[in-house]
Amino acid sequence: MFGLNKNSTTEENQTGMLARLRQGLAKTRSKLFSGIESLIGTKRAIDPALLEEIEARLLMADIGVAATARIIEALSSAMRRHELNDMDQLLDTLKARMVELLEPVTRPLLIPDDTAKPFVILVIGVNGSGKTTTIGKMTSYFQDQGHSVLLAAGDTFRAAAIEQIQHWGETTRVPVIAQQSGADSAAVIFDALQSARAHAIDLVIADTAGRLHNKNNLMQELSKIRRIITKFDPSLPVEVLLVLDAGTGQNALSQAQQFNEVINITGLVLTKLDGTARGGVVFSIAHTLNIPIRFIGVGEKLQDLRPFQAEDFVTALLDIRE
């Protein structure tokens, strides 16, 4: 079928993961592209009205005005060249165009063996995007790859955020470094780095408080956290991971841009893809910022985290059978 996780080291339960991804995306697919499928089924003529139909579907997937225009433009120029003679060709072109847009950002997160330890994953995002849940899932994911993990309870602001991450620590049996609520987030993360180094742990995943990207003072706090990590050891490899809710509309682009300005984002996670939300805004983000999309979240269970694959993402969305 479609080669999900070619680069992933978790070869076991491959089919299980495939099924889950498909299942998760199925809901997305059935709601969104059932329209396109039914268009295809009805053997309509390929005309501008059909393109308009497709345009509407793309817009409703949060792909955005500009990115949709680019995709439609490619389709209509192919149409003018008489390359689209039947629905299969139309769908192939549509899919190819969409995959092309996401291909450059399909780069999985790999933990290198030959760099300084610990590898640091700093998890950031707006309130309620799913940071802490994603941390729980990532812990399990990297444990499966044979890495030792330590969590830093860097969200010292929101009520019970520390308890929430401690719960994930217990579930996955990894140590959690925490201080009291209201403590300095950077200090907690510094502590975590020290502890990880002392115990030769491979990977530190640090939580941060959710913050809206237009709050200047909160953004400054993030850059302080980033500075502290460099101060601890400038040679540490750091992944700054922005967590985006797939239900977010065009504002996700603004989030990515503004977080990126303050603290260089090196990866994205797209959460809550198990609903009817389509996460189409990643097309704009990919076009504008070219930040790799590392994972997608497709459920509430520990194993509901998948490496992002452009081909599969689009294929599953369009539900093209091969």
Binding site: K31, V126, A160, Q164, D245, G249, N251
Partner: protein, 453 residues
């Protein structure tokens, strides 16, 4: 939050300004822009289509009065449609029921339900002097119950203890009984975030609703939501008899099209907006104001409300009396005004509500920050009591001391003193007879067209 939509529409309307009259052609061009603006603002496509069609029909069928330009007619139509779409009235909660009035909160994961429970409880307690009990039946997300417990205790709200190994149905039944026993006025029930396509979870919340028979069932929506807002709103509205909507995280820069979509799909009023992380950051939703704001007319009414709520009346009266008496406005008074300004959420949040701000480039807006205010405050704080009362005594060596004390430069102190002198002059003019009226006349020349104070 609606800044970008405002900007977009302002431009459309500027382009229309040169037109002699409304024709099918130039309406089409303008409406295309409106459509794009609404889509970029995350208003759901079906809602956009509806909206555009309404405006188009209305604009075409209308005879243009000589007193209005074609652009003005279109703006008025867009605005009227926006208001119609968002509901006309300022709706509030159904608290007139035999106590306890039960409020059930529902929504997707991460919408902001638990934070909103605390805000709503605080609002009921502060504004309506209600005895409020809160309970969480989120047994799924780790530490969700603990989160509500902490928030309830921090804000002096009753909290009904529950635990993650109880069934949500049992929790709410017990909570309802306890609320009756303790003669609570209001019971706010926090539920777990759930996906609208999760049949089991939707059945669960229906069941909770049956037991609680809430007077209000509120749907909590993240204002950053995209097109999918219509789907989730539709599903929740079908599963539950919703009575209203709360829009959260509106202090972000999202364009907030979800507000329009949800309102249209559910037909239920948006009752509150969450505007920050603090517990008092919950404000009633005013459709007319938001519609005006979308059109770049500013949100002056909200501004007035904030000023009224947050200014210390006694302090203000004291100052007014002092100025009337003719005794001088000194640095102590100035410090007090700075403090009040910060209380109101700082310069940015005030400027945000002023008309015409949509046209100011974001870069320029960023330069206005509260740092300057904080600096001014620090300088005054570094002065002696005598220096504050009689700023004339501040000489070179005192300036040096104040600068060191406040971490600023002597030039900053000079600037502060100059600003203060100007303010003092203004205050003197005000204290003269008819002074205030004169000043207002001078001011109104600077206000944007079409806005009458």
């Amino acid at each position: 939050m609606f800044d970008n939509l405002t900007g977009r529409l302002s431009q459309v309307i500027r382009e229309l300004r040169g037109q002699a009259r409304l024709t099918e052609d130039n309406i089409a061009a303008a409406l295309r822009e409106v459509r794009m603006a609404l889509l970029e603002a995350d208003v759901a496509l079906p809602v956009v289509r509806d909206f555009i069609e309404h405006v188009r029909l209305r604009s075409l069928g209308e005879e243009i009065k000589t007193s209005l330009s074609p652009g003005q007619v279109l703006i008025r139509n867009v605005r009227d449609e926006l208001i119609a779409l968002m509901g006309a009235a300022n709706v509030t909660l159904n608290l007139n029921t035999p106590p306890p009035a039960v409020i059930l909160m529902a929504g997707l994961q991460g919408a902001g339900k638990t934070t909103t429970v605390a805000k709503l409880g605080n609002w009921l307690k502060q504004q309506h002097h209600k005895k409020v009990m809160t309970v969480s039946c989120d047994v799924y997300r780790p530490a969700a119950i603990e989160q509500l417990r902490l928030l309830a205790h921090a804000n002096g709200l009753e909290f009904f203890s529950s635990s993650a190994n109880q069934a949500p149905v049992d929790i709410v039944t017990a909570a309802l009984g306890q609320a009756r026993k303790q003669f609570m006025d209001v019971l706010i029930v926090d539920s777990a975030g759930r996906l609208h396509i999760d049949a089991d979870m939707m059945a669960e919340i229906r069941q909770l609703h049956d037991i609680l028979q809430p007077s209000d069932t509120l749907f909590i929506v993240d204002s950053m939501q995209g097109q999918d807002a219509v789907n989730s709103a539709q599903a929740f509205a079908t599963a539950l008899p919703l009575t209203g909507v709360i829009l959260t995280k509106t202090d972000g820069d999202a364009r907030g099209g979800a507000a329009l979509s949800v309102r249209q799909v559910t037909g239920k009023p948006i009752i509150f907006m969450g505007m920050g992380e603090k517990v008092d950051a919950l404000v009633p939703f005013h459709p007319e104001r938001v519609a005006s704001r979308i059109l770049g007319m500013g949100d002056v009414l909200s501004l007035i409300e904030v000023v009224e709520q947050k200014t210390d009346l006694q302090q203000a009266e004291k100052l007014a009396k002092k100025i009337k008496k003719g005794s001088g406005f000194d640095l102590v008074d100035f410090r007090e005004q700075l403090r009040q300004m910060q209380n109101m959420g700082g310069l940015n949040s005030l400027l945000d509500k002023l008309p015409g701000m949509g046209q100011i480039p974001a870069a320029a807006m960023n330069q206005v920050n509260d740092r300057e205010l904080i600096k001014l405050g620090a300088m005054i704080d570094s002065m002696t009591e005598r220096e504050r009362r009689f700023p004339d005594v501040i000489n070179g060596s005192r300036k040096k001391r104040i600068a060191t004390g406040s971490g600023t430069q002597v030039q900053d102190i000079n600037r502060l003193l100059k600003q203060f002198k100007q303010m003092q002059k203004m205050m003197k003019r005000m204290s003269k007879k008819g002074g205030l009226a004169n000043m207002m006349r001078g001011l109104s020349g600077n206000l944007p067209r079409g806005y009458r104070p």
